[in-house]
């Protein structure tokens, strides 16, 4: 066996974008590949569950896990990987805080299953068949499916995590930085998010045009009004999450003339990104009377979806309560 560090990549409830991000390292990926042994990467190479089961505990140097945790299978795999790996890196918004799949925590499991298997336009299922976790097929073979849990969880709500790479997906620069830190053994304190701990506005090229008193008179939606390519996007009345989002992406979306939607999650000083965004954005409205305030706020049709877009499971309430 070679003495190269063994590295694994695994995915749970995610879109595949985080896997793309690894490939996006371009030539950088070749340096990484040359320096390590990839012992698990289901999306790109052929690995089976039994390969993981056969590994010795702590034999993998580091495992990068992306995606939120929704099913018993994901839960079982990440618990197993935790035992096999010395370091577990939570990779991307879904693993870190639930991400887009985490928005499902606004609905009960029954609501979701009923919509998907019965009510969704285009579904033809008059027998109302639902997937079962165990069944026998015509050949009397028994089939198993994972259990669909009641809620979506972040990776660190299921297993212990060593470091976090933020973003939807993390940028090549941050990934390389994280990999190099691991390979060189120059590691920050456990639990560190591997991206600068200041708000995105700090590294935004438009920050000089952001007034101290925003005095917002309306909230506009980016597909319904033109965005000035020079001025602070929030000052123009579009929901820009920069003030309560961690920096590190170098303001990618703003450079593309779109508001930040908050994918890097909060800084370490913020415990609930959504509530902090409410504090900052609603606090910056100019109106003083309730009816006018409500009128301005009506420009935000879906507060939960906007402010917790990448992190409902890690919010203080975690999921809708009365379901």
């Amino acid at each position: 066996m070679s003495a190269k560090p063994k590295v694994g990549f695994y995915w749970c409830a995610s879109c595949g974008g985080c896997e793309e991000a690894v490939v996006d390292l371009a030539e950088g990926v070749l340096d990484v590949v040359a320096a390590v042994d990839i012992v698990l990467w289901p999306v790109a190479m052929d690995f089976k569950r039994s390969d993981v089961e056969g590994m010795a505990d702590k034999s993998m140097t580091v495992c990068f896990i992306n995606g939120a945790v929704r099913t018993s299978e994901q839960e079982e795999m990440v618990r197993m990987l935790r035992k096999k790996a010395q370091f577990v890196i939570s990779f991307g918004s879904c693993a870190n805080s639930g991400g887009i799949p985490g928005l499902a925590n606004q609905f009960s499991k029954e609501t979701i299953l009923k919509f998907v298997y019965e009510d969704c336009p285009g579904v033809d299922n008059s027998a109302r068949t639902r997937p079962q976790t165990r069944m026998k097929d015509e050949g009397d073979r028994s089939l198993h499916l994972p259990v669909f849990r009641d809620m979506v969880r972040s990776l660190d709500q299921v297993i212990d995590v060593d470091y976090y790479l933020p973003g939807c997906p993390p940028t090549p620069k941050l990934i390389m930085g994280g990999v190099q830190a691991l390979l060189s053994g120059k590691l920050p304190a456990k639990g560190t998010v591997l991206s600068p701990d200041v708000a995105l506005c700090d590294e935004c090229p438009r920050k000089d045009s952001k007034p101290t008193d925003l005095a917002l008179t309306e909230f506009k939606r980016p597909h319904l009004a033109p965005i000035d390519p020079e001025k602070c996007i929030l000052a123009q009345g579009f929901l820009c999450m920069g003030p309560a989002t961690r920096s590190g992406c170098e303001a990618l979306c703003v450079k593309g003339n779109m508001p930040c939607s908050g994918c890097f999650g909060p800084t370490s000083k913020v415990r609930d990104q959504g509530a902090k965004l409410v504090s900052c954005l609603a606090g910056s409205i100019a109106a003083k009377e309730t009816p006018e305030i409500d009128k301005v706020l009506s420009g935000i049709p879906d507060p939960v979806g906007s402010f917790y877009r990448y992190g409902l499971p890690k919010s203080m309430l975690k999921r809708r309560i009365d379901n």
Binding site: A56, S59, G274, G283, L297, P303, L317, R320, I321, D322
Partner: protein, 171 residues
């Protein structure tokens, strides 16, 4: 934390966290005390310098740690000791209230009231009214719910733990 869960304790006693601003509502609560006004003992008052200091995170934090209700009291509009603090509060809480509703937290568990330093009587009526309403809603008990939600994880955690492989057994 959950005193209302105790067996035989009779009716449910809501636990209400009250953030009162130093210059108006806290003074009013003080006045209510000095005037020996009797009102429900269910509030735990936290004095803040201004209602504008109350980050929406504080409200969620109180709920997530077991509060059945959160009351926020500040100076009347125009009277804030820091001029604009309570306007910020009003704007934030109008949005937070919508968000709480979308997250299934019933109307009435959160309340914002303007109570001046002279309105000891208002502290009494607001607290009594809120306690009655939250009592009717029943316990929120988020810490209990969190535990409950996570119970679905337990069986699997044990089974994976049992399949541990010692390094010496392989290779």
């Amino acid at each position: 934390m959950t005193h209302h869960d105790k067996k035989g304790a009779g009716r449910f006693e809501p636990r209400i966290v009250a953030f009162f601003c130093n210059w108006c509502t806290y003074t009013a609560a003080d006045l209510a005390g000095v005037s020996r006004l009797k009102y429900a003992p269910n509030t735990r008052v936290i004095r803040v310098m201004c209602s504008g200091r109350v980050d929406p995170q504080f409200v969620l934090d109180a709920f997530s740690r077991g509060a059945d209700g959160v009351l926020l009291g500040g100076c009347h509009p125009g009277d804030c000791h820091y001029a604009e603090g309570n306007y910020k509060t009003l704007r934030r809480m109008r949005l937070l209230e919508r968000m709480l509703k979308d997250m299934g937290v019933s109307d009435g568990r959160f309340r914002l009231e303007w109570i001046s330093g002279a309105e000891g009587e208002k502290v009494k009526t607001v607290v009594n009214d809120m306690v009655a309403k939250v009592r009717a809603l029943g316990p929120l008990d988020l810490p209990g719910k969190f535990k409950d939600w996570d119970s679905e994880l337990e069986g699997l955690a044990r089974s994976v733990h049992a399949s541990s492989k010692e390094a010496a057994h392989v290779r």
